[in-house]
């Protein structure tokens, strides 16, 4: 029993110290820039999260099969819904009225101009099946070659919206039509 505790404690220390290691020596593949922070823009107001800020927030695991690499990976990260909720974006009576929330979408950018869209509703797990997270570790290790931060969606069957080097997330309202 004591041995299990020691093993768990060691594993916890190792896991928590990994993001720090990633900050000091981010390895990348050639041509890929590294994300050093996440900027979240809600109603035109930007908030910058450092890697340490994100590491300090509650994380959840998300398991996905990556068709690019043909691997089964378990990411850990901060639910995008939690980040949005902290800025008043929810479908349950936040600052954004429900009818407006349903007309909104999210654009997630990498450091190198790659961007993808999500609907606002689909990133809230109580609304839509699955989890969408801002991941900072994969398989228990820091995300190194993929630019430190990745956006991961559990219900996507292809990795098109697996955004490497995630740098910015913008919450926007559709103009209509």
């Amino acid at each position: 029993m004591r041995l299990i505790r020691i093993v768990l404690a060691t594993a916890s220390v190792a896991l928590f110290s990994l993001p720090l290691a990633a900050q000091t020596s981010p390895a990348t593949i050639p041509g890929r820039t590294v994300s050093h922070s996440l900027t979240l823009v809600v109603e035109g107001k930007p908030t910058v999260y450092s890697l340490a800020d994100l590491a300090a927030l509650p994380h959840i695991p998300v398991a996905v099969h990556n068709k690019r690499t043909n691997t089964d990976d378990v990411y850990s990260g901060v639910p995008l819904a939690s980040l949005l909720a902290a800025h008043g974006v929810t479908y349950t009576g936040g600052d954004v009225p429900l009818h407006k929330f349903l007309r909104c979408y999210i654009v997630a950018h990498s450091t190198d101009d790659y961007f993808v869209t999500f609907s606002s509703a689909e990133v809230f797990p109580d609304f839509h099946t699955g989890d969408v997270i801002v991941a900072d570790s994969v398989n228990g290790k820091p995300i190194a070659v993929n630019g430190q931060l990745e956006l991961v969606s559990s219900e996507d069957k292809r990795p098109s919206r697996l955004v490497y080097s995630l740098a910015k997330i913008i919450f926007l309202e559709s103009p209509g039509e």
């Binding site: 009225p97 839509h128 099946t129 098109s160 039509e177």
Partner: protein
């Protein structure tokens, strides 16, 4: 005097009830009857296509079973997969179009102008996303006469995007 106070308190309580009822408590959004769909217009990559209900009825259908949290009952809808409708009318999602599709989103509008947004990935089922998103024209084996057409997404636990009387579907480039 005390009775008067009690009556006034009761009246006040009753007066506040409608306000409470309007509080957006998720799926309990009231649905007022709106005109049923007479045709569906798809606006995709600069091309507009209008389909009649008969044309939609003639397309291959898929059935989905869902729990309607608003009505609090299980329902079976049959309709045309939205991905098939979009693909056949100028918006295929494949390796060649992937970049543009990922940079876009889809708006669904009802006959009352009410609009909701879906991402492109979440409606291109089953290739890109889990679940089913269909434009339904029957419910539990009967035509949905009140709506004509209704949007149904199996992955939405709340039916707030199951838009009634769908009339226009538009593919739009995202701002950024």
């Amino acid at each position: 005097m005390r009775l008067t106070r009690l009556v006034l308190a009761a009246l006040l309580a009753v007066a506040t009830l409608p306000a409470l009822a309007q509080t957006p408590t998720a799926e309990e959004m009231p649905h007022k009857p709106i005109p049923a769909t007479t045709s569906l217009t798809l606006v995709l990559n600069g091309k507009s296509t209008t389909l009649t209900l008969a044309q939609i009825a003639a397309l291959p259908h898929k059935s989905v079973s869902v729990f309607n949290a608003h009505e609090k009952k299980n329902e079976t809808y049959s309709g045309v997969p939205l991905a098939a409708l979009l693909t056949a009318n100028g918006a295929p999602f494949n390796h060649q179009t992937q970049h543009d599709m990922l940079n876009s989103y889809i708006t669904i509008k009802g006959t009352d102008g009410y609009t909701v947004v879906y991402s492109t990935v979440e409606v291109y089922t089953p290739d890109y996303h889990t679940g089913d998103v269909i434009i339904a024209d029957t419910r539990d084996g009967q035509p949905i006469t009140t709506d004509g057409l209704r949007m149904v997404s199996t992955e939405d636990g709340h039916p707030m995007r199951w838009l009634h009387s769908v009339t226009t579907i538009t593919l739009t480039k995202a701002g950024y």
